[in-house]
């Protein structure tokens, strides 16, 4: 089989915030009844994590589980782990009305790093989300609009932001984030 590459093959841009494409990431979309005990057990078996509360993301040991919608979760992990995660979900959820799909190659992930206030500012320039400290904090997972595309954002830790979007718009997302992070474009709104 041909060698898998991410949308932008780890391209990066340095401004007042560093923007980089994260390379290959394992992502499994899981749809089903999030209140079901069987689904919770399946998520724990696949990712070692609980089902997150509404609008939250849980992370541990390189795996994350994000709340996407009232009936959808996104499991994130190493690229090579995506297929085993999906298989584990399928096995655990046999007979349940649920669907697990490996979407690793349909998504792109970006990492923003720098000073906390600067990282918040880059996202605030592009998304209609209150990025103020104390409002948007690590643990929150927000699906929103980034300029003209849908995107999901979260903060693994202060000074770092992750963005997930469709692979087909990865180049657009990189340009957006890179331009918003260009030197000379600092607004200092959260400084």
């Amino acid at each position: 089989m041909s060698e898998a590459v991410s949308a932008l093959n780890r391209a990066s841009r340095d401004g007042f915030v560093r923007v980089e494409e994260c390379g290959l990431q394992g992502m499994v979309s899981l749809r089903g009844d999030l209140d079901s005990a069987k689904l919770a057990k399946a998520v724990t078996a696949a990712a070692g994590l609980d089902v997150p509360e509404t609008g939250r993301i849980l992370a541990s040991e390189g795996r994350s589980v994000a709340w996407m919608s009232p009936d959808e979760l996104l499991l994130i992990g190493p690229y090579a782990e995506a297929e085993p995660m999906r298989t584990a979900l399928d096995t655990e959820l046999a007979g349940e009305h649920a669907l697990a799909v490996n979407v690793s190659d349909a998504r792109a992930m970006f990492r923003l790093s720098g000073r906390d206030a600067d990282v918040r500012e880059v996202i605030a320039k592009l998304c209609p989300v209150d990025m103020a400290p104390g409002v948007f904090e690590p643990g929150r997972f927000r699906r929103t609009r980034m300029a003209q595309i849908p995107a999901a954002i979260w903060m693994p830790e202060p000074g770092e932001m992750r963005v997930v979007c469709f692979r087909s718009v990865a180049d657009y997302a990189m340009t957006l984030l890179g331009n918003a992070a260009d030197k000379g474009g600092e607004v200092g709104v959260f400084a």
Partner: protein
């Protein structure tokens, strides 16, 4: 600009994160209905000045549909509620009555 709260994911955002879905609480007429009923369903939409009920979709968020009650004059949003209902819930009607006494919209008041 409208500020809506999605009742499905609890996110409060401005309208560009959502997509409008037209008038709420339509009765759908399909095969077997009379021409008048079908015509009414397709074309006879209300365009009120004041209290209005609409369907919205959290298109760039959780992707779910919901209902919103708002004022078309002031853009005030009285409340949002589940899409799985055929009429506005009482607490929404009460909120509207508190702010727009004597309001009516189609068969609701």
């Amino acid at each position: 600009m409208l500020i809506l709260t999605c009742p499905c994911c609890g996110v409060t955002a401005e309208e560009t994160e959502f997509h409008p879905g037209g008038e709420a609480h339509l009765t759908r007429y399909g095969p077997g209905s009379s021409d008048d009923e079908f015509h009414g369903y397709l074309f006879e939409k209300v365009n009120p000045k004041g209290v209005h009920f609409e369907r919205w979709r959290h298109a760039n968020g959780c992707g779910k549909w919901f209902h919103a009650a708002r004022c078309t004059v002031t853009l005030e949003v009285f409340g949002t509620y589940s899409a799985q209902t055929t009429e506005p819930p009482q607490h929404i009607k009460d909120k509207i009555s508190a702010k727009r006494p004597g309001w009516s919209w189609r068969e609701f008041a």
